[in-house]
């Protein structure tokens, strides 16, 4: 039984099957982007073990095709098993081994990236300094104790807790926050309109607004705007229900026990042990046109721990890599008065570089080790030998 299983998992037939299925998956997943949007298609087809039908997630939800993770895993097992089965030491096989080792590294590196990498954005107006970046899609409910002028105490509640309509208490807060209603994507208006309901809250701003739930965004360039109604529950009773929303830019203030608080639904923040200060942002265009030629941000990097304090120029194709974070020039404010840096934390970012060198070398080795002897044989044979062969063919 084990032997048969090993034979199956080390067979080239399995390799060919997986590769062919991979081709279909990639083709299908690309076509599906037209309807699903890049973000959703990517999750349904490539970052999944199985592809389900129908694709929009409605019933009956049947698994119909292997997803990217499944094919990748089977190919990995297949590759390792085949090498165990067929590997022979020797110069001729170095290329093959190198190629496959590189492919393994690439696959493993990409899977690690999927699980470990974190992307966020750092928006800086000119002259502004920040020591945190913000998530592109994820939100958090920040409850801030603003009583002291010098420093705020912040408790950040991730949206995942609000989704469960749960109650959060924290030793830093003398009250609990209870999520009453949560819409992962929503729209607010000031006037009643079809499909909208009044937001019924008992405290804070927004009780006169109307809202409605929207389907989650699936396109890469659009993000959800979550909204929620939360209640502040104190040992002395409720302080009322408040509206918090990604569409509200002002925090909801309230007081309790002579201390003042503010509550804001904001993009999740990631703090860094250093700060960036935007000195200058440039948007260069080609002469006489609006075609962008380059975007660049001159920033000051300040690290109080190490005493580092230097200027850095971040521009297209030239990111800043510092302490495991990489800062890329991603976008800018319409008035050219601010810059948006993409911040990527990816511990496995170097794997493709090694993999590329390994596979490239391996393929070249393998290719040349066949081509050169072949050419030598061909060249050694007299050229005219072909003419008679051609004659024979005609007969």
């Amino acid at each position: 039984m084990l032997k048969a299983l090993f034979k199956l998992f080390s067979s080239l037939k399995l390799t060919v099957t997986c590769l062919s299925l991979g081709c279909i998956l990639v083709f299908w997943g690309t076509l599906a982007q037209v309807h699903l949007g890049l973000y959703k298609a990517q999750n349904e087809f490539f970052r999944s073990f199985l592809v389900y039908w129908p694709l929009d997630g409605s019933a009956p939800h049947l698994p119909i095709f292997p997803g990217g993770y499944l094919l990748g895993t089977v190919l990995l097992i297949n590759l390792l098993a085949a090498h165990l089965r067929y590997y022979q030491p020797g110069k001729r096989k170095i290329g093959i081994a190198l190629i496959h080792l590189g492919v393994v590294l690439l696959l493993v590196g990409q899977m690690l990236t999927d699980f470990l990498a974190r992307e966020s954005a750092l928006h800086l107006r000119i002259g502004e300094t920040k020591n945190y970046s913000e998530a592109d899609r994820a939100y958090e409910l920040a409850v801030m104790d603003t009583t002291d002028k010098d420093s705020d105490k912040v408790v950040a509640i991730p949206c995942s807790v609000l989704v469960r309509r749960g109650t959060v208490s924290d030793s830093e807060m003398p009250f609990a926050v209870r999520a009453k209603t949560f819409y992962a994507n929503s729209e607010l208006t000031e006037k009643s309109a079809a499909g909208f309901e009044p937001v019924k809250t008992t405290a804070g701003a927004g009780s006169d607004l109307w809202w409605r739930e929207l389907p989650r965004e699936t396109a890469m360039d659009r993000v959800d705007a979550p909204s929620a109604v939360v209640e502040i529950a104190t040992p002395q009773g409720s302080l009322g229900t408040f509206l918090v929303s990604a569409m509200l830019s002002q925090p909801q203030p309230f007081t309790f026990n002579h201390r003042t608080y503010e509550m804001l639904l904001r993009p999740e923040r990631f703090y860094m042990p250093f700060s960036l200060h935007l000195i200058e942002f440039r948007h260069d265009r080609y002469a006489g046109t609006d075609i962008p030629k380059n975007f660049s941000s001159r920033v000051r990097l300040q690290n109080l721990d190490s005493g580092e304090n230097r200027e850095v120029l971040i521009y297209m194709n030239n990111p800043l890599r510092y302490q495991g974070e990489t800062f890329y020039q991603a976008s800018y404010d319409p008035d050219d008065g601010g810059s948006i840096l993409q911040v990527v934390h990816n511990p496995s970012w170097l794997t493709p570089y090694f993999s590329c060198v390994m596979v490239g070398t391996g393929l070249l080795w393998q290719f040349l080790s066949h081509l050169i002897p072949f050419l030598k044989r061909r060249m050694a044979a007299p050229v005219n030998a072909n003419t008679p062969r051609k004659e024979k063919k005609k007969s």
Partner: protein, 615 residues
Amino acid sequence: MKKWIPLILVAALAGWVLSGLDQPPETGLQTREFGKLPVLMDGRFQPFDSVARNSLLQIRTKQTVPLDNGQTLTANEWLLEVLMKPEQADDRKIFRIDNGEVLALLKLPENQKFYSFNQIKPQADEIEKQADRIEPIDAAKRTVFETQLMKLFSEMNLYQRLEISLKPPGTDDFAAELAAFQQSIAPGIAAMQARDAGKKFDQDAFNNLIGFMGSYQTVARYALPAMVPPTDPGAPRDDWQNIGTNLMATAHTGEISPPAQAYAAMVTGYRSGSPADFNQAVAAYHLWLADRFAPQVNKARQEFFFNSFQPFYKALVIYVLALLLALCSWFVSWGNLAELLRRSAFCLIGLAWVIHTFGLIFRMYLEGRPPVTNLYSSAIFIGWGAVILGMALEKIYHDGIGCVVAAFAGFVTQIIAHNLAMTGDTMEMMRAVLDTNFWLATHVVVVTLGYASTFVAGFLAIIYILRGVFTNTLSPETAKSLARMVYGIVCFATLFSFVGTVLGGIWADQSWGRFWGWDPKENGALLIVLWNATILHARWGGLVRERGLMNLAVVGNIVTSWSWFGVNMLGIGLHSYGFTDAAFYWLMLFVISQLALIGLGLLPVKLWKSFSVPA
């Protein structure tokens, strides 16, 4: 004697190519001299000649305008007319409209392919009304009619802007007008100042200047090429203005700039039917530019030479000739004729490749870029790479197959490139993230060579199938060497497509921190790698033999064409784009033809002419 025939052929064709360099001098209007003048448009310096050719290609899909009297206007002659005598240009039939619904909207007869601006003008308001409605609709969701109407709208926009790029509408004697304008500046300014100060002022002088400024403002707003260089030696060298802006600025300096005067003299000479005056104005302006703007003048001259030499067109003609010779070499059996034809084809391909390479390098020099910067240049480069591979195969196997592959690839990719040039300037500037010669030179070149080699493998397989099924010329030896060629080329393709694809990922990692984003173009490249890997593993595993290998290689053609073109169509939307755009139509036709070939390849051996008859 026979030894010399290929060389004589090469010499004759080389003579034909070189003869293009020696153009007879122009009698009458020296439009070519005008065509060499540098202007700044789309962010780069180019000669008027390029503006003319690219605009005409966009509007008319051809680089010339045939007239009713049997004569033909060159692109330059057409542009001169548009710039200087628009009332005459309005009668030229240059707008190509194929869509019946658009024709019906414009109340135009259906039996013409090309229509003049004057024919369309009565419905201009209607076109604008429709365009206003269509504009906000996502390009992917437009109907065929809407897409075609927007295309016509943008062509008319281009045409109308060109018409007022040099002179205000209605101006006849531009030189005299500018002299009057200059006269009007001082009294006009004085009147303005007096008026602003609340004093008595000369109303006529005031109105006179305002009138001029009004008409130059129209030009300033809509003119396309910036044709007036800065006269201040300290100004940045790329700070060119369009003539309207320049004339408006004259109100401050009081002096009309020499370039504006030169252009006005050209207009007056042209309109008054006096070629000598026109020619003299052009020559004087060339002289004025020569020592002040030498780099721009040289760039424009070189590009003019490149445009008129047409190296890619000439290479195409020779590739076709070579293809015919090479194909014949397979089927004749008279004496040494086959070998002679094969050698002649090989030599001609060598000549065409030299011209092809010359064009490629000249383009790189003009652009200051690696060879592939857009879809157009990728076609040129794929052809170039495939020709090298084909010639290498021929050098190894001496059986005419490499020649056919090389000549066919050279010829077809030039045709594709020619059709891709319809969208406008093929040397457009690279947008910010693409503005990196390092990645263009590594990732793009390598991945394009991957495309080229996958196509070569696929085309070799097609030769195998066609010769095997329809002729008895596919001997077991030839079949075996074809299989070896396909295998070798697929290995080569795997190397290039893998390394190219990963380099692309690394570029993405460098520019926005995401090695892989499952974006359509990335997936397209990945698909080629996966497919080539599938072919190799299927062969090693013994899952396919000779014929199976060939069929898989033909599938490689479909995969590559989809990655090359198909994914670009996805970006704009599969639906409406699909059935209107010629590229999609051709892609579908290509895919169907490849499926048909695979069908042939799957026929049982006994139906194959080559295998049923014992060799």
